[in-house]
Symmetry: C2
Subunit: 210 residues, 2 copies
Amino acid sequence: MILYDYYRSSAAYRVRIALNLKELDYQQQTVSLVAGEQRSAEHLARNPQGFVPALQDGELLLTQSMAICEYLDERYPETRSFLPSSIADRAKVRAMALLVACDIHPLNNLRMLKYLVSELGASHEQKTDWYQHWVYQGFDALEQMLDANAGDFCFGDQVSLADISLVPQVYNAHRFECDMSRYPNINRVNENCIQLKPFMMAHPDQQVTE
Amino acid sequence: MILYDYYRSSAAYRVRIALNLKELDYQQQTVSLVAGEQRSAEHLARNPQGFVPALQDGELLLTQSMAICEYLDERYPETRSFLPSSIADRAKVRAMALLVACDIHPLNNLRMLKYLVSELGASHEQKTDWYQHWVYQGFDALEQMLDANAGDFCFGDQVSLADISLVPQVYNAHRFECDMSRYPNINRVNENCIQLKPFMMAHPDQQVTE
């Protein structure tokens, strides 16, 4: 398997966690978002959106991090399921995972922040306010959902798709200096996750940066 | 089942299509986004994000439209599956569905457009440019993915989760006067979908508006 990757991409970080949890071997090939390599013809042939990650598994080229995580869970069911067995519980896990993947992360990624500055003339302060605003909106709701659902992890005491989605977003929230003291549940779950080797090895600081 | 709904919400529109495809009976209860009812204590108890849709199925309260669609597909497998049977094909369908659900719709919904105007002083023209920009970015990529995957519908000749996600976004693209002549595949698939009764009955014009 080849993961087309960039160390600071939250979406790629999710897939690194998922691959590690499944104990799968994979090669990483860096697509530098800073150098604009995501817009090369070569990468656009892998992913017409020009995003990382893309995952090559044999003949198959996969895009969209949450679709890739679901694929890995279905294709490699032997090791650690990302979803509980009950249909109702699966819906709860997916709702928490998608809260982050749909309603926080896409609003705050690089292309968005660039547009704010170049097209709307946003100042550094306005950009930071924007970033923090959508993190707080999402995490305020997630914190409440964790009241109802969390144990050591987002859903009970098993790592799930919700944790895979959450941990990279917490990393980003710290980078953008969000006030995380408001979120005891999120902090507890995040601390429990980042002590596990599959999460540790997926951390941006553990990757090649170029 | 009770669907907490608003006629113009794209995410609610998706769930209406999904419920209709599954031939399930449901009551609709309007949560007026224009009147601010989504911020009432009553609705926040259903969904801490204060979004529609929320779906009550017996004791269970579900949020996040894509998680709800996956739930309906798992819980009611008898009628029309939203995903193909092959694991590889399921990943392709989910990638197309999530392209719209993560990378177009959340950037363009009401709360975002309000923030652009109130916090960043965006003009009407800048707001429209923003809207169209993210539609074009997403649809340019989706159009190529449909080259590889589409038949009468997004994936071959069967309605799937990708169509459920796409049709409400095309409706919105028309509302915001996007140039849809650039997307022959998207238009063909959309036309095929909207002629089907489950899509027709889910259309915003067919709903109670208050």
